[in-house]
């Protein structure tokens, strides 16, 4: 007799059945858990995720495919995809630096300095928003208009005057004919910016990184983390340091969406980097979400980036203004930064728009070393060496 199967909602059974079952408890076996994801986790793409990490969103208009991924990989590394033929996506996103460029701020194809530090592409499929501070950009496809077409500053510098020439360069490269045909079958002339954007978006969306020592530890390999990293992990997830509030979850960012998420948040935070003149201001070309919304309380708010591969992505912060992880920890320990002189002088620690979790903490030298040991455990060597994400033209 299997009690679970016999149980239905009948009240009569509710009264009679217990007596039967309590007498025959030994026979009432069969705990079970039924999970029905309602096909939410169907995908045709090999995401290379580890157990415990949910699938990212996949835009209905641009589903993942290996052929688009491979086309996107070629385009990502192709300097033909710029107005003057000198710069590709990979110019500012180097694989060995977890797809950042190591510069304080990036430089565009015509020499314009970007106001911001190039961001890692690690797990960007999970971003709730794209770029450092833009609540309107929620797909990689939408984000890509900026590097390709932006005029202020010029990045890849494609505009009305050179776009036909750019497409012609792509058409002239023989390897693309088959790549486009396979990625976008049954299209007469698939070489278009719409398809270029879709393919690169698929490539970038496929850049998943969940093979760090931290992940191996999560999967049960207890030796994956050193004693110092384990102490650092405890510090990281402590209420004293508060790190995890903004850098929590499997992707170490609160700006994370995936297929399991029902209540999407797209958060941004002011960490007290600046407070020009004590009024909360940030430098004029770098004011965060305020630039998008015009809401004064959004001054200096930026998206919390993932901390995965963070050891490879120096310098840090939206403007690359902090050189090392040690200095970043000291910055958060101080609860902000006091800029003592110059045009940006002001005490960021008292920025009126600063996030309440950046309240400062006391930390010993050993604790700081432990915390940084933990951050090192988030570095996925396979991600930065994988041929799958490497330059196909070399």
């Amino acid at each position: 007799m299997r009690c679970a199967g016999a149980l239905r909602r009948s009240r009569l059974w509710t009264l009679l059945y217990p007596l039967l079952c309590s007498v025959m408890l030994v026979a009432c076996g069969g705990s079970e858990t039924y999970l029905d994801d309602e096909a939410a986790n169907k995908t045709a793409f090999d995401w290379a995720l580890r157990e415990g990490v949910p699938l990212p969103l996949e835009p209905a208009a641009n589903p993942m495919s290996e052929t688009k991924f491979q086309l996107g990989r070629h385009l990502f590394y192709d300097a033909r995809l710029s107005g003057n033929g000198t710069q590709s996506c990979s110019s500012c996103h180097h694989q060995d630096k977890a797809f950042t460029d190591g510069l304080v701020v990036s430089v565009g194809s015509t020499g314009d300095s970007h106001p911001r530090n190039a961001q890692t592409l690690t797990n960007v499929a999970y971003n709730a928003t794209y770029t450092w501070a833009n609540p309107a950009l929620i797909t990689i496809e939408a984000q890509m208009h900026t590097p390709l077409f932006s005029e202020q500053p010029v990045e890849q510098g494609i505009d009305d005057s050179n776009q036909d020439a750019v497409l012609q360069r792509i058409l002239d490269e023989p390897r693309y004919e088959a790549l486009f045909a396979e990625a976008f079958p049954a299209q007469g002339s698939p070489v278009s910016f719409a398809n270029i954007i879709d393919a690169i978006a698929v490539f970038v969306r496929g850049m998943t990184s969940f093979n760090a020592p931290f992940d191996r530890y999560q999967l049960g390999q207890r030796s994956a983390l050193s004693a110092s990293a384990l102490r650092g992990q405890e510090l990281f997830f402590s209420e004293a340091l508060e790190c995890f509030h903004c850098h929590g979850g499997y992707n170490f960012s609160d700006s994370t969406v995936d297929r399991t998420i029902a209540f999407v948040e797209r958060p941004f935070h002011n960490t007290g980097l600046y407070n020009i003149g004590g009024s909360g201001d940030f430098p004029p070309d770098n004011q965060g979400v305020f630039e998008a919304t015009g809401d004064p309380s959004d001054m200096g708010k930026f998206r919390a980036p993932t901390l995965r591969n963070i050891t490879l992505t120096a310098p840090y912060m939206h403007d690359g203004s902090i050189d090392t992880l040690e200095a970043v920890v000291e910055f958060y320990a101080a609860g902000g930064r006091n800029v003592e002189s110059g045009p940006y002088a002001g005490d960021g620690r008292t920025n009126p728009f600063k996030d309440s979790f950046v309240s400062g903490f006391a930390i010993t030298a050993q604790q700081q070393a432990d915390l940084i040991a933990f951050l090192h455990s988030l570095t996925d060597e396979s991600f930065v060496t994988s041929p799958r994400f490497s330059n196909p033209w070399e």
Binding site: A136, A142, H145, S161, A292, T293
Partner: protein, 291 residues
Amino acid sequence: MVGVVRKNGLALGVTAVLGALGLTACGGGGGSSSDEAPKSLGSTPVSIEFAAMVADQVLACDTDYTGVGTAGSMVQVKDFRMFVHEVELLTDGGKSVSVSLEDSPWQAQGVVLLDFEDGTGECTGTAETNRIITGTVPDSGDVYTGVRFVVGIPESLNHLEQASVSPFNVTGMNWGWTNGFKFIRFDIPNWNVHIGATGCVADGNGDVQCSQANRPQIELDNFDFQTQHIRIDYAALVQDNNVSTDTGGAVGCMSGGTDPECNGVFTQLGLNLASGDNDPALAQTVFSVSN
């Protein structure tokens, strides 16, 4: 009608009387019932022509214009394009009639791109130009004496991924950071006017909503689309601005709510800079009727 006759003689009589009244009343139009309209009405082609000007000179690339703005600057044009939608003709009876836009590379989904630059000289846009809105209105005896349109792309289309639909795929009108488009792009070297919806935020469902619509609604009376055209005057747009300097924010006005250059530009477009709405207290000066 046939069914009515068979069933009820009284109904036939009433219908006949109403029909006769309707016939005699016709001519002024406006009262025709919905199931009769498709039978009796064809469509009348409409074309509305625009001319871009700098004061009294026709705007063109590679041309010097003097006396522009508060400093009387000498300028050349770099870009001069804008989107328009919700085009309506106004009758002498106070009625508005929507103009259905024909699909073309310049027109799609009720939106038209007007393009006055040809990529020569300082201009960096496309070689092709477009100064005309083409469409149709239903046949009627209406006398059209005015025009109304909204500058920009409607919110429902502003954030769609339509990278392969012209004119939504025109690179220079892309406004990536708002996940939308520039509605107006009137640029001279080192002084740009980019008007578009701002304060754009994606909600939890992924729908992008902008808090500042920044879509000027323009209404011009005494306009005969068959004989007259609409002037767009750059000199009027920047009449309160010094276009030789920039005192803050983006270079020129890029719709920033705190950009000092935007006050003058928005005022001339009849827009409230803070709310992004049309302000009835402000009279736009940029668009006018010309013979």
